[in-house]
Symmetry: C2
Subunit: 134 residues, 2 copies
């Protein structure tokens, strides 16, 4: 049996922002433009048309909002906004080895205007084979 060398596949950045700008969180055109701007600013490459969908209110916890998504060559970017709660939750998943999380957080803070946030970066695919196995 051949020994498979393992490397890290990528990194996954997660941001939950609070106290964000209500008008931006509900502006579908603005949100779509963010899905073009962020990959551009971060040196990533979109491979699908950015999708922004309005999601109706569901229950007491979920008063409705908008969801956005774009595939990038490096993996994907998604967010879900809840304008009435001033909340936005964002994922940027890249197969690059590192991600400039400070730059990303500053960029999102500027775009969404949240007043506080929780940021997390986790390694993904830590046993990814360095070479083809088939």
């Amino acid at each position: 049996m051949i020994e498979v060398q393992e490397i890290k596949f990528g990194v996954h950045y997660m941001l939950d922002g609070y106290g964000a700008d209500r008008e931006i969180l509900k502006d579908a055109e603005m949100l779509k433009s963010i899905l073009y701007k962020v990959p551009d600013d971060m040196g990533m490459h979109t491979i699908s048309e950015p999708l922004v969908v309005e999601v109706g209110p569901k229950n007491k916890k979920d008063p409705g909002g908008l969801s956005g998504f774009v595939l990038i060559a490096e993996s994907h970017i998604s967010f879900h906004t809840f304008p009435e709660r001033g909340f936005v939750t964002i994922d940027v998943y890249t197969c690059q080895d590192t991600i400039d999380s400070d730059k990303l957080t500053a960029l999102f803070k500027d775009l969404f205007g949240f007043t506080s946030c929780d940021e997390r970066v986790v390694d993904r695919g830590t046993k990814y084979p360095a070479n083809n196995i088939y």
Copy 2:
């Protein structure tokens, strides 16, 4: 100033699977059907047409594969496959308070046939306002 009661927004399930079935990882139709099946099986509700896109080889680390995504009322499901490496990386993000990660992992193991995996579940939006703030 009114005190805002904070609750948890949702949970985010991440799975990285190794040694998966090469033929399934490269089968766009099969992958699309997975994006219908998983929400169904988990009591979630798709709100966008599942998207599966072939992503060409990029560099030594990335020999190409397929990316899939679907918006669900509860947030989103995404995956990226790399058939030649037997690797699939999956995200299921839901605004439900809990997620049956054992059931999900068993379901994905059955669908993708990976031989080992790393699973992680993280809380998201832990300071989500329980009521509208605007």
